[in-house]
Symmetry: D2
Subunit: 133 residues, 4 copies
């Protein structure tokens, strides 16, 4: 399981005093980006070398407890399943004392960077993900 | 079905050239806020008069086609179901020519504005929603 | 003077209970986009037909009073000055009762959409702006 | 001079292919928050113990060069001047190869967390800032 720290700043909160619900999707994507980088694949290089980008196809999010300004969260990424052109990941945002605040399942699809049509996940990415999971 | 127009500005897009996936959740919430207002309930008044706010408990989103800068989208809100303290809504973001771009089911829970504990939806809100649906 | 209404949603506020300071720059840009559209120039068309986009070069912002959730603000755009490749605008965000909340002077530069190098403002845009101001 | 690293994610960019201009203000605030924390003052504690928060009163920003997706920027904070209730800081966002991309001068005011009225900067904060600058 990959983990990435995310500090909550004012920009992330709303006037309810907690992190705005859409912003957890930003946190989740930061962690996915770093998870890919950790496996050796920057997205800039993937686009340049393989002409592909990963786009989100579906998201299911469960909001269990709120995060607040200044909280230092841990966002996790865990491989769940993959097909020819897609990867499904399980993610959480966790608080050091309050535990899991938000759970998400995210399906990303590998698409051509110009046409946005689904294409096969580049072999090196695929191998690296399958070897690890 | 309630509809609300949303124009796509630069702030909503990302360097993939399309609307950033988390931002549709902003569009969806704008439409829910206006749907409530249209039924006679501003959220500022709900907090002041009934000490409640609505928070999102779960979201399921399907991204079908991308929206672009300058697109004028229609965001819809349709009542799906309700319980003592929650409401489930079906929402879409639609493009005038390309049809439905994004579909979402959103469950909001009525909570006390201080404690964030679930409480009964205020009777006038409940009646108005049920009469219409 | 051009005016554009902006409703404050949860997404715009922070846990201080007021609109987050960076978000006024979003409101200001929405108004500039609509000001240009009102003069007959969509930015998508400017890019397609003239290969140019407008980018912000400098911004000076004064925050006088806070806006809150649900406020319906009026954002204004007033031409101040222009050069061969730039336009300077004076903008405000105003509250119906509390008056001017935020004042900004914004200098935008017309650049090539590929190279980001400054280029002459397309003649039709220039004429339309100067005729009106 | 205090420095803070900021990675550019998709959320920060726009369809022009570069970081959206308002988002640098988020980067600048993250760095100011960490600058204060580095001096021993979390803002949550300042609010709890001294009933104060810092709000931005004026901002002047100069956009020199664009940042792109995946860039790892360094945001700097340098003390410039202070009064009884305000602090003025000079900030930059820098790219490892392209140098300074954005320059800002930011004036923050110390206000009561409830009334938003300017109040004296708490003595320990003041001392720590002056001793260092």
């Amino acid at each position: 399981m990959f983990t990435w720290p995310v500090r909550v700043y004012y920009e992330d909160t709303d006037s309810g005093g907690v992190v705005y619900y859409a912003n957890y999707l930003k946190f989740m994507e930061r962690a996915r980006t770093e998870w890919l980088r950790d496996k050796g694949f920057g997205q800039t290089e993937l686009l340049r070398d393989h002409s592909v980008i990963f786009v989100v196809r579906t998201v299911q999010v469960e909001y269990l407890r709120p995060a607040k300004f200044d909280d230092l969260l841990t966002v996790t990424v865990r491989f769940h399943a993959a097909g020819r052109s897609w990867i499904e990941l399980d993610q959480t945002a966790e608080h050091p004392e309050n535990g899991v605040l938000v759970k998400a399942r995210v399906k990303v699809v590998c698409v051509n960077g110009q046409t946005f049509k689904p294409v096969q996940i580049p072999a090196p990415v695929r191998e690296r993900i399958e070897r690890i999971s």
